[in-house]
């Protein structure tokens, strides 16, 4: 069964965002991939081929674009896809230990799904939450920050019971007042997403 066969309205909507030309149609690649990934958790070879036909290119090109991003998966993921940031800040704060712990206790390696179908793991590059290292992201749902051994155990216990704890920061990530950098004159840096505004802390 093809995925888009009964979704012509959706496909037409995606195509309508791009110029009506061969190049324009190719640009629809990413939203189509996203669509499949969200629905099925990964993009299989059959889906790559299907998308290739839709946008008038080859499966090789689809795979090439797709494999450029760590957010698309070629293999099935678990119900909870745990993404551990392993870039420098998190590494300094213990992300390696966190990773080892997850891999050991869940008995799952990258590319695998744990026997109960719940967990899969992936190392990712900086998720931009270095101030709260080590951190992990579960699915697209949000950031779990300062994940030490205790917090990790609590999160895993909840997930095993299929009660996903609320993330510390839902995606898109907001920046709390404490998380903000302050300049020498006391001015906070950057603009706030949450409307916390500038001024001194």
């Amino acid at each position: 069964m093809t995925y888009f066969a009964d979704k012509s309205a959706l496909v037409a909507d995606i195509f309508s965002r791009y110029p009506d030309s061969p190049q324009g149609r190719r640009s629809a690649l990413m939203p189509l991939l996203r669509e499949v990934q969200d629905a099925e958790g990964f993009v299989s070879e059959a889906r790559m081929a299907e998308i290739a036909v839709l946008i008038g290119t080859t499966a090789t090109e689809v795979r090439s674009v797709m494999s450029f991003y760590s957010t698309y998966h070629t293999v099935p993921t678990g119900k909870y896809h745990l993404q551990v940031c392993s870039t420098l800040m998190c590494a300094l704060a213990g992300s390696d230990e966190l990773w080892d712990h997850l891999v050991e206790t869940l008995d799952v390696q990258p590319g695998e799904v744990s026997p109960d179908g719940r967990f899969s793991v992936q190392k990712v590059e900086c998720l931009g939450s270095c101030g709260t290292a080590p951190m992990l992201q579960i699915n697209d749902d949000g950031y779990y920050e300062n994940v030490g051994p205790g917090k990790c155990a609590r999160i895993l216990a909840d997930l095993r019971a299929d009660r996903q704890p609320l993330p510390d920061n839902p995606v898109p990530v907001t920046v709390t007042a404490e998380g903000r950098q302050v300049m020498a004159n006391g001015q906070t840096v950057g603009t706030s997403l949450t409307g916390l505004g500038g001024g001194t802390v």
Binding site: T58, A59, T60, V62, F68
Partner: protein
């Protein structure tokens, strides 16, 4: 446009890239990703130079430097080295290469260090060793040492992309040449970079590379990452005898280099010929050569009393022929040859036929009509409309297909400089826009079909007639496009030419005349154009190859109709074919890889053949074999050697064949001789061209049991020495 390279000023045409400016000045820049027939992308960062340009004041005058008469426009240098392959040289530009700039030398050495960061350096076992850009450039431009002490990344080795192409992912330096080649040249995007960053590798998701033009990536890969699996592990570059010659599997006549080692033809690679194949050849030409060294006939065979073919000497064979033909009138001996025979061989055959007064002369395959070509391959590439009628180019003339695809992307031919084809033609772009509306394919479905804007299923035989009197809207559209086009070309293939009658030529010239189209008809065989110009067709009352079984006696060279003549039959061939097994005497022949001579391609271009060093025992070419045949018949052979054949051709066809330029030369041959012919289906890959499954065990057994001769010093006493 004046450009100064390392202090030398030179004059260059506008649009020249900086890398070509340097080569134009006789300088050198190392490069990996640039390729004359591919878009420049600046992927390898090796071709760095320092560059600077004069700058103008708001009033239009140059910013000057110096006082009075010594004042010169001040050169503003880019703050960092630039990739010269993607930079256009501009008026007044100054360029400094590693020769004069320490910055460049250091940058290139650093780049080299970086490229070698993860490279496995298996030069001692790598097939590319000795012809590897990376090896050479690392030696010339590298530091000779690395500051990276950690372990190299490891990736898949011996990863088959197809039966013919093996990828070593570790050796890939990500120059993207192979990716660009598939996108830009055959228009099949089946290779791409997978993953990103330090893990990037080349792969295909299509389940393998398409057969047709895949082998070219093994030529253009600057390192040993993509290797020709037929030639892999069969020799090192410096061990091969490289023979520049011409491929005669089809009538395009691509320039190739035949690489032989220890008397075996081990590898065929493409050789640049701007007018014919540019830098490409087809897969049959590249991978189909093993037959030249496998199961060859090396001595004559004669049939003994028990009816068995047994090895014999040439003298015995001549005696056997003499005995077998005794009492036969010489005029009853039929002379037949395959269409890949050279012009010289054809001349010798024709001359002998004249002496014997035989009417049974033929070459095969051939067509019943002769359509003189008026288009060259360059005309095809630069046409603004091409109609392909009744042709399956994949089987008939593959590289012509590439030239048509070149036309679809604008027909940009890279300029030529004294240093050769432009290394980086800045007009070539990645993912070029194609204009499918410029191509019409009329006939059966073929590979070219998917690139064509006009696709018309038709019976090839009446396609031309229908095009002259269009009966459908689609055909009308093609007719209109032909009329509107300024440089249209008509390509005719076997389906259109098979069984064509006299009126065909008239219809065609009428259509061509009306539309101003140039014509390229694909000959039936590799050199049928040349052989038809000699009178190698059945003479009045003569029997052609299709009536071989009625001919009283025959000499058949390199043809395998699976029949024999009514009477005594002599077969001259490279292998013991079905026909040879029926013969009374079999004479060993040489392949076209081992001949010296001339062939005529589909444009009417004379192209030279040169002999590669292949062991073929006592095999002989057609000229020498005919001399032996004449001896058996008791007549004096009119042509006894290449020189004699060329002299004859000079007087008959006005050809000067002893001094052909390497790229060949177009020669309008006089009227061709034609006769009714059997329709034929062109097939590029013949059975014997497919290598039998021979695995390593067999190969090693081969080696140890003397199938190969190892290069050992001769046992004869060496001259000189102390003792």
């Amino acid at each position: 446009m004046k450009v100064t390279v390392d202090g030398h000023e030179l004059d260059l045409p506008a649009g020249t890239s900086a890398i070509d400016a340097v080569f134009g000045a006789g300088g050198d820049v190392p490069y990996f990703c640039a390729h004359p027939y591919l878009s420049p992308v600046g992927a390898c960062r090796m071709c760095l130079v320092e560059s600077g340009s004069p700058r103008k004041n708001p009033d239009g005058s140059f910013v000057m430097e110096g006082e009075g008469d010594a004042a010169k426009p001040k050169i503003f240098w880019f703050p960092k080295p630039m990739a010269s392959c993607t930079m256009q040289a501009t008026e007044g530009m100054h360029i400094r290469t590693a020769k004069t700039s320490e910055v460049v030398a250091k940058a290139q050495a650093g780049m080299m260090e970086f490229t070698l960061l993860n490279h496995p350096l298996d030069c001692p076992t790598c097939d590319k060793g000795g012809a590897c850009e990376l090896q050479d450039r690392a030696f010339e431009y590298g530091y000779g040492a690395s500051r990276f002490g950690f372990d190299r990344r490891h990736a898949d080795k011996h990863y088959p992309l197809s039966d013919f192409v093996i990828l070593d992912q570790e050796r890939c330096i990500h120059c993207k040449r192979c990716v660009r080649y598939f996108e830009e040249v055959p228009g099949q995007e089946v290779l791409d970079f997978i993953e990103r960053g330090g893990h990037t590798f080349i792969d295909t998701e299509e389940g393998g590379l398409p057969l047709g033009f895949q082998g070219n990536i093994t030529d253009i890969c600057p390192v040993g990452a993509l290797l020709d699996n037929v030639a892999r592990f069969r020799g090192r570059n410096w061990e091969y005898d490289h023979t520049p010659t011409t491929c005669t599997l089809c009538s395009v006549g691509c320039s190739i280099t035949a690489d032989a080692r220890n008397g075996r033809l081990e590898r065929v690679v493409a050789r640049e010929n701007r007018d014919v194949n540019e830098a490409w050849i087809c897969d049959a030409g590249r991978f189909g050569h093993p037959f030249a060294s496998e199961e060859r006939l090396t001595t004559p065979l004669i049939r003994n009393e028990d009816g068995q073919l047994v090895p014999a000497t040439w003298d015995e064979a001549i005696t056997a022929i003499n005995r077998g033909l005794a009492g036969l009138s010489l005029a009853d001996l039929g002379l037949f040859t395959g269409s890949e025979a050279t012009l010289e061989e054809g001349a010798a055959l024709e001359a002998l036929a004249d002496v014997l007064q035989t009417r049974h002369v033929d070459h095969s395959p051939r067509q019943a009509v002769d359509i003189a070509p008026t288009a060259t391959l360059t005309d095809v590439a630069q046409a603004d409309f091409v109609a392909v009628i009744g042709a399956d180019l994949g089987e008939e003339a593959p590289v012509l297909e590439l030239r048509i695809l070149e036309m679809l992307r604008g027909g940009l031919l890279p300029p030529e400089f004294a240093h050769g084809t432009a290394i980086a033609d800045l007009r070539l772009v990645e993912r070029p826009a194609r204009q499918p509306e410029r191509l019409a394919v009329i006939g059966a479905e073929s590979r070219l079909w998917e690139h064509a804007g006009h696709r018309i299923s038709a019976n090839g035989r009446d396609a031309l007639a229908r095009l002259t009197r269009p009966d459908t809207d689609a055909l009308k559209a093609v007719g209109e496009a032909l009329t509107k086009a300024e440089r249209p070309v008509l390509v005719l293939g076997a389906d259109a030419l098979n069984g064509a009658s006299g009126s065909f030529a008239a219809t065609l010239s009428d259509l061509a005349g009306r539309t101003g189209a140039k014509v390229m008809a694909i000959p039936a065989g590799p050199n049928s154009r040349g052989l038809s110009a000699l009178n190698l067709v059945p003479r009045a009352g003569g029997l052609g190859l299709d009536r071989l079984s009625e001919v009283p006696a025959a000499f058949i060279s390199r043809l395998n109709p699976g029949l024999r003549a009514r009477g005594f039959t002599v077969v001259h061939d490279t292998h013991l074919t079905a026909t040879a097994q029926l013969a009374d005497v079999v004479l060993p022949a040489v392949t076209n890889y081992e001949k010296r001579g001339t062939t005529v391609n589909l444009e009417g271009r004379l192209l030279p053949l040169n002999p590669a060093a292949i062991q073929a025992g006592e095999a002989a070419d057609l000229i020498r074999t005919l001399t032996a045949l004449a001896e058996a018949l008791g007549v004096k052979a009119p042509v006894r050697g290449l020189r004699g054949a060329q002299t004859l051709l000079a007087s008959r066809l006005g050809l000067k064949l002893d001094s052909l330029p390497a790229g060949g030369v177009i020669h309008r041959l006089p009227r061709a001789h034609t006769a009714p012919a059997q329709p034929h289906t062109p097939r590029l890959w013949t059975e014997r061209m497919v290598r039998r499954d021979q695995d390593w065990v067999d190969r090693i057994a081969d080696l140890t049991q003397g199938g190969w001769t190892l290069p050992v010093a001769p046992t004869a006493p060496q001259p000189g020495g102390d003792d």
